[in-house]
């Protein structure tokens, strides 16, 4: 009885404490991701320089006041290119994660709900997909369907899908027999409604954090493919492509590769830190 009253008096306090400002690292990470999102939506806010404007006499300028992060072999401003590249990099990361998740949810739901035989067959299919390291799976896809941004997104998504599918399946199995599912069944809800309204949201909640980090990982994998020359075509301000182009000048002009890579690192780092912070926040609700 005393416990109950104690809980009642403590509950609002706890909630208040949860809403305090996140720690320094997480704040910085969230700030960086917000700035990146803003750059993706409105690059004009950060720079007025055209990312594609070629100025031959400004080629290979080291970082300076006029060109914060220097210029590349054609005199294009690297800061402007990175800012304008944010949209494409984020888009690729989010789209690839979405594709990976769509495949994973389909496979995970089917194998979690389709009965033992379907589960075994899909488990086997996953095992087969797992036999390929992600970049090899993505390269295989690019070899069959050609390079470019579209195949790049699908290839990155495909590379990540088996891992997510295994997680979704585990979650579906864990949630499948929960009390609220039984309650919904007892109330006579159709299966489709139970799956969409009860099962999926509850199975997905713990995966949200993984998804946040997944976007960062997808950006890295996609840039790796772009770096190998299998993604966005060179003049486009895509981070992996910029890095790849700068590689030829690495001996004399380090800023060509250093800064695009730095932004990839910062983005991954920010998604990881944010994801981990969210995980801690949600921990009480995790199974």
């Amino acid at each position: 009885m005393t416990d109950l009253t104690l809980d009642r008096t403590l509950a609002p306090l706890r909630r208040q404490r949860q809403w305090k400002l996140p720690p320094v690292g997480a704040s910085l990470a969230i700030l960086f991701l917000s700035a990146l999102l803003l750059a993706a939506l409105a690059p004009g806010l950060f720079t007025r320089i055209d990312p594609l404007a070629i100025v031959p006499r400004d080629a290979f300028q080291p970082p300076s006041w006029a060109h914060w992060l220097g210029t590349d072999q054609s005199g294009r401003d690297i800061f402007a290119r990175i800012i304008h590249g944010a949209r494409q990099s984020l888009l690729i990361g989010v789209a690839a994660t979405a594709i990976a998740m769509a495949i994973a949810i389909t496979l995970g739901l089917l194998s979690g709900l389709g009965g033992a035989r379907v589960d075994r067959a899909l488990g086997w299919l996953l095992e087969v997909l797992f036999a390929f390291p992600s970049l090899v799976l993505a390269l295989l896809f690019v070899a069959v369907f050609g390079s470019g941004v579209g195949p790049l997104i699908v290839a990155t998504g495909l590379g990540g899908a088996p891992g997510y599918a295994r997680m979704v399946r585990g979650q579906v199995l864990a949630v499948r027999n929960a009390g609220y599912i039984e309650a919904a069944r007892a109330l006579g809800h159709p299966t489709s409604r139970i799956v969409l309204r009860q099962l999926l949201p509850n199975a997905m909640r713990p995966l949200l954090v993984t998804l946040t980090m997944g976007v960062g990982q997808a950006i890295v994998w996609a840039s790796a493919l772009s770096f190998l020359g299998l993604g966005a075509r060179p003049p486009a301000p895509e981070w992996g492509t910029m890095l790849s182009m700068g590689r030829d000048f690495i001996a004399n002009a380090w800023w060509l590769t250093f800064f695009p890579g730095l932004f990839i690192v910062l983005t991954t780092l920010a998604t990881t830190v944010t994801g981990r912070y969210l995980q801690q926040r949600l921990e009480g609700r995790l199974p």
Binding site: A131, P133, V136, L228, A251, L269
Partner: protein
């Protein structure tokens, strides 16, 4: 299990037998997966546009006579129904025949034999280096208070976020072009292995160290650690001889995944450092649309990956006998 076996049996031998049984089961499963992989790639190849005979006779650039095409069609059994062709394909695979690369005009098997060693060398060096870094970093710093832990954990998170390709390029700029300590390219000397191995190992070490630190910190709070300390063991001895074995488990189970990440990273690193190896071959084959080579390398990589995962699984059982009892 232990209740039914007589006490005279040596427990160590019993463990080995159980481990052997487990290995046989896993190997059987692995063979099944590889068969599925091979089947999948066979039908993927058949779905590809273009005549497979032309591919065999030297790719799109070759210009064979109609007689040569007909002869090759009969020789490779391509005039037979698909099911028969599939059996032929499996038969050739079992004999180690993966077809002919049409960008290099060499049997795929020969390319693999010539290049595989370099990749194996690189991935093993990187894995060993990564574990060395993990052990140094975690065993020394775990449970040493907030400041040390915070700094180490920051270093781990940061290194886990470093993409191989960027790290490789930065290492190249600093240590090969700037300081000239190591050669920028090639694969002939031990010195040329250092930079690629580090650029593969550092991000991996970051990942493994995060898990290992967490589990080591939990382990150090266990009663048996206190027992060891009361027996007068030094701090390092407690950490290395008692705590480590428990704390290694999550890291070891991550190593299976790590091998996949290493192979993916090897592709990138071999390209950056112009190293010999099947990763760079795969990259070049994709660019040249050389399907036999792409498929051959993918198959072998898949086989290696499956095998490595089985080994990791067995290692895991060996380190933690509790797993074995749970499985038995």
């Amino acid at each position: 299990m232990s209740t039914t076996t007589p006490a005279v049996i040596d427990p160590r031998r019993e463990r080995l037998v159980a481990l052997g049984r487990r290995a046989a089961i896993r190997l059987g499963g692995g063979v099944l997966v590889l068969w599925a992989v091979a089947t999948l790639t066979f039908f993927a190849l058949r779905l590809m546009p273009g005549d497979p005979v032309l591919a065999i006779l030297g790719g799109p650039s070759a210009n064979p006579t109609p007689e040569a095409i007909e002869a090759a069609r009969v020789e490779f059994g391509l005039d037979k129904p698909l099911a028969v062709q599939y059996l032929f394909y499996l038969g050739r695979l079992l004999q180690g025949d993966l077809g002919v690369s049409y960008s290099q005009h060499l049997p795929v098997t020969r390319v693999l034999v010539e290049q595989g060693g370099a990749t194996l060398e690189l991935t093993i060096a990187a894995l060993a280096l990564a574990w060395l870094l993990v052990l140094l970093l975690t065993v020394v710093t775990a449970g040493r208070g907030r400041v040390v832990g915070g700094i180490a954990s920051l270093a781990e998170t940061l290194s886990a976020a470093l993409p191989h390709f960027w790290l490789g390029v930065v290492l190249l700029a600093v240590f090969a072009f700037g300081l000239r300590w190591f050669p920028p390219a090639g694969s002939d000397s031990v010195a040329s292995l250092v930079l690629p191995a580090f650029s593969l190992a550092i991000p991996l070490a970051g990942f493994i160290a995060q898990v290992t630190r967490e589990s080591l910190e939990l382990t150090l709070e266990q009663p048996f650690v206190l027992t060891a300390r009361t027996r007068g063991l030094s701090d390092l001895a407690v950490r290395f001889r008692h705590a480590l074995r428990h704390a290694l488990l999550p890291g070891v189970s991550l190593s299976g995944w790590a091998i996949g990440a290493l192979i993916s990273g090897a592709v990138v690193c071999e390209v950056i450092f112009s190293r010999k190896g099947i990763g760079r071959q795969l990259y070049q084959a994709v660019q040249a649309q050389d399907m036999p080579l792409v498929i051959g390398i993918s198959l072998v990589v898949a086989a290696g990956y499956v095998l490595a995962n089985i080994l990791v699984d067995l290692l895991y059982q060996w380190i933690d006998p509790r797993q074995q009892e749970a499985a038995a």
